[in-house]
């Protein structure tokens, strides 16, 4: 099996030598294409890529003369995976503060904190995640560790690409907020305080929107937020930017739902350890949930109902779910988390959807990524087996039509010691 794989890889590199940018036509042929859209699975299918975009997908795609052809050998071809709830691009080593740009301790930069700045495309974490089939991520800010910092919002998440062009794809794909235990602690120690403070802040923002000119003349009352924070929250109160709420306890999820309903906010639930207990309400309100299916730990009094069946039960209730990885350095385990959800009863297609098309929909990126169909960015992964299984690995990865290297600093270290050591 190893031998056959290296022969295939050798053949791939012959067919696609040192690819320049994306201004070319590439045909991936003979793939078992899992499109994640209406076409479903296409056996012996072809994907035609031009200028970084998919131009055709199907069993009867005619290949233009001059196209570079990559024979997938009957292997599974999927959209690139999307990691939501990560800090890829913002962090290198967690215990090295200078290598961690997830949070600020400035008291006047809360909602305004923008994960779209400071992104590092050279981060060593990116090739490691990419070798796990991940082509896009939602870079998500977190809160500073300064105990005196009682900020409500962590800031704005950004959509990033793990290759094939500039790292930043879109700023402000979500406003990030902790509720539950962490949010309550930050707001002074109790949930009631946090929710009151949130409502007061949202009222301030609405007031500010109406009286901007007066604010500039210094004729308004004092607001508790800085101007930058007030500005950053306008898309939120206008329903243009979703509120990504990290929340776990069933009652806290209901509180978040009530807040979103009353304030007419677009909500995304993150974490959601007990979301399965309020699945019907989430489905009714069309609130998507980002889950980590392997996290069944009753680690706190807000996650006592954590279970391996969370993802399955949410999906069964009709909730749109995205599956998260295990964070940053461990982001490559994203597909294993989906596999574990499938082992707990989630249908395989839905497991794959939860790491491709679903996060694309949840973060407003489905026009560009998440599925294999004409018009989408050519984020494509060819696998040597079931993409949700540990024993399978990508054999070719494209982002925006650009073939990605199959190496990382880790594979380089491996090779260095394999040749020296024995």
């Amino acid at each position: 099996m190893i031998g056959r794989l290296s022969i295939l890889l050798g053949a791939l590199s012959l067919l696609l030598p040192a690819l320049p940018a994306n201004a070319r036509t590439i045909a991936i042929t003979n793939g078992r294409i899992v499109t994640m859209v209406g076409a479903g699975e296409v056996d012996n299918g072809t994907i035609l890529v031009r200028d970084g975009r998919i131009v055709a997908v199907g069993a009867d795609v005619s290949i233009p003369a001059g196209a570079e052809i990559l024979d997938a050998g009957g292997r599974i071809v999927t959209p690139g995976l999307i990691a939501s709830g990560t800090a890829l691009g913002l962090i290198e080593v967690r215990n090295v503060e200078a290598a961690d740009d997830r949070a600020t301790d400035r008291s006047d930069v809360s909602a305004a904190f923008d994960a779209g700045y400071g992104l590092n495309p050279d981060s060593l974490l990116i090739p490691v995640a990419r070798l796990g089939g991940i082509t896009r991520a939602i870079a998500t800010p977190s809160y500073g560790n300064d105990g005196n910092r009682e900020l409500l919002f962590a800031g704005q998440a950004a959509a990033i690409a793990l290759g094939g062009g500039p790292i930043l794809v879109k700023r402000g794909v979500a406003m990030v907020l902790d509720m539950g235990d962490a949010g309550a602690e930050r707001a002074g120690g109790a949930r009631g305080g946090e929710i009151v403070a949130l409502r007061a802040v949202l009222a301030e923002v609405r007031d500010y929107v109406r009286r901007r000119a007066a604010y500039d003349r210094g004729e308004t009352r004092d607001y508790s937020l800085s101007r930058a924070d007030l500005e950053a929250l306008i898309p939120l109160v206008e329903g243009r930017m979703p509120l990504l709420v990290s929340v776990n306890r069933a009652s806290d999820i209901r509180d978040a739902l009530a807040l979103a309903r009353d304030e007419r906010l677009k909500l995304i639930v993150e974490g959601g350890a007990e979301a399965w207990r309020v699945a019907a309400e989430l489905a009714r309100a069309r609130i998507p949930v980002l889950v980590t299916p392997v996290d069944n730990k009753p680690a706190s009094f807000e996650t006592l109902g954590a279970t391996l069946t969370n993802a399955r039960r949410l999906a069964e209730a009709g909730v749109l779910i995205a599956i998260q990885g295990n964070g940053n350095n461990r982001e490559r385990e994203l597909r294993y988390n989906a596999g574990n959800a499938v082992a707990a009863g989630l249908p395989w297609q839905q497991g794959l959807a939860a790491i491709t098309v679903n996060p694309a929909r949840i973060f407003g990126l489905a026009e560009q990524i998440g599925s294999l169909e004409a018009g989408k960015d050519a984020d494509i992964v060819i696998w040597d087996g079931d993409p949700l299984d540990t024993l399978a690995r990508p054999v070719a990865i494209f982002i925006r039509g650009e073939r990605q290297p199959m190496t990382s600093r880790q594979t380089e270290l491996r090779d260095r010691y394999r040749s020296d050591g024995r």
Partner: protein, 471 residues
């Protein structure tokens, strides 16, 4: 208060017979209880009793034996809590209940060689639940993990449902010497002695690198650097050697005069010098592993396993030569500097070099899928051209772990006479979709996914939200 008791040291010499450093002492010495470390070498003995064991046969399964063999369409016979026989074309004797193993796989019970279950229990974010790191002094060799261990940690249930039958529970890594480890069977009990693995040797947790120097350097005391770490280890071993010498001298003199003052910390370290207590060494970097081997040589003890050992691949021949296991993960890396060079192929490279590779957890969630963590390592190794079979890789969380824990003569593989610690998997355990369907410890059923009467042991979740849910 008890009166004076008579201690027969001759019996104790047997425990130490494989080490030359302590000559067999044959003198009977009278002393008060608690004064002489040899008077009662096992003050907290295992009171484990196996559950009811039945005679059963798993028929038609793919069996990974843990000895490097794979038996297709195999039969496994269990009786009296032991593996009785295994192979193909084995007749099922009368009186054995027959379990259909077709399309399913059998392996030895999973052994987690690095766990903090019970000593850092759920709900783990509640500070009161953390009894893992006695961060009051860089040397706390005197503390014993079993005295923190809460058998009600719901993590034991989750691990059992994932096929984990035996665990090494360790103190944390904030100190140079964290304390004694305890080996437990994953059975539902109320008091810790009821789950202690009978006859399992104790271990001593030693930690290299960043954690101790950060803990104490931050308080303006030693160790603040790696050289401070090493000075701390050496000072302790000097003290331990001296302690051992004073007791030997007293015993040689027939117990004349006042005995040396007993010291629990020194008891543990001296136990290592005698070879009775196994060193379980948290150590990431290759250079530090090499330093620790030098220290062990300087003071005449052995290191049983390096834990985490993410740079084992850089010193694989050294570890093979020294017969030290490398217990590690596959996917963890980069959360701090000393684990920056971790690679997925670590275990596979150690294995291919002829070493003892172990996949451990150190984590409640990874501990529920050691088979998957091993599968990722296996897959990475294959990608790198290391052609390792499942029959070999199963050892990474069974037989090799048993070796590191010093219990390989009793468990860790499916061989006639060994404890019937067995997992029946729904599929190839290296598949992400495999689940432990049934689990036995000493031939007693401890988990059956299909049994509606199965209930979790931990009292903590009783009456809590989500109670009654299926795993």
């Amino acid at each position: 208060m008890r009166p004076f008791i008579l201690i027969l040291l001759a019996g104790l010499a047997a425990c130490a017979s494989n080490q030359a450093s302590v000559p067999p002492a044959v003198t009977a010495v009278q002393t008060r209880p608690g004064i002489d470390p040899f008077a009662d070498s096992d003050p907290f003995p295992s009171s484990y009793r196996p559950g009811p064991s039945m005679k059963f046969a798993i028929v038609g399964a793919t069996i990974l034996t843990g000895t490097g063999s794979r038996i297709d369409d195999g039969t496994l016979l269990v009786s009296d809590g032991k593996i009785e026989a295994l192979g193909t074309d084995l007749a099922v004797p009368a009186g054995y209940s027959r379990i259909d193993g077709r399309d399913r796989w059998v392996s030895p019970g999973v052994i987690d060689a690095h766990s903090h279950l019970g000593v850092w229990s759920q709900p783990e974010t509640v500070e009161a639940q953390s009894d893992v790191n006695e961060l009051t002094d860089p040397n706390t060799a005197q503390v014993w993990a079993e005295h923190s261990l809460w058998p009600q940690d719901p993590g034991f249930d989750a691990a059992r449902e994932a096929g984990v039958t035996t665990l090494l529970i360790l103190p944390g890594s904030g100190n140079l010497f964290g304390g004694r480890t305890v080996t437990v069977k994953n059975v539902p009990v109320t008091a810790v002695r009821d789950m202690k693995f009978p006859g399992a040797p104790y271990g001593l947790k030693i930690a290299c690198g960043e954690n101790p120097k950060r803990t104490y350097g931050g308080r303006g005391r030693s160790p603040a650097t790696r050289m401070g770490n090493v000075a701390g280890y050496r000072r302790a071993w000097i003290d331990a050697a001296d302690y051992a010498r004073r007791w030997e001298a007293w015993r040689k003199a027939g117990g004349a005069g006042d005995p040396p003052r007993r010291d629990l910390q020194m008891d543990t370290l001296a136990g290592v010098l005698r070879g009775e207590i196994l060193v379980q060494n948290h150590c990431y970097r290759a250079d530090e592993m090499a330093n620790m081997i030098d220290i062990a040589r300087e003071f005449g003890f052995r290191i049983r396993a390096f834990h985490h050992s993410n740079e084992a691949y850089k010193v694989a021949p050294l570890l093979v030569r020294e017969d030290i296991c490398a217990a590690t993960w596959t996917s963890w890396w980069g959360y701090k500097m000393e684990v920056f060079d971790a690679i997925e192929e670590n275990a596979a490279i150690v294995h291919a070099a002829g070493g003892c590779a172990i996949i451990h957890s150190d984590d409640n969630l990874v501990g529920q899928r050691l088979n998957q963590e091993a599968a990722a390592a296996l897959s990475a190794g294959r990608r790198a051209g290391l052609d390792i079979g499942e029959a070999e890789a199963i050892k990474w969380f069974t037989a090799n772990s048993a070796k590191a824990l010093g219990i390989a003569d009793r468990t860790g593989s499916l061989e006639p006479g060994k404890n019937a610690d067995v997992v029946l998997w729904s599929a190839n355990p290296f598949s992400i979709y495999a689940r432990a369907d049934r689990v036995w410890i000493d031939g007693a059923a401890v988990f059956d996914r299909g049994d509606p009467g199965y209930r979790r042991h931990s009292d903590f979740l009783v009456g809590q939200p989500g109670q009654g849910r299926r795993p």
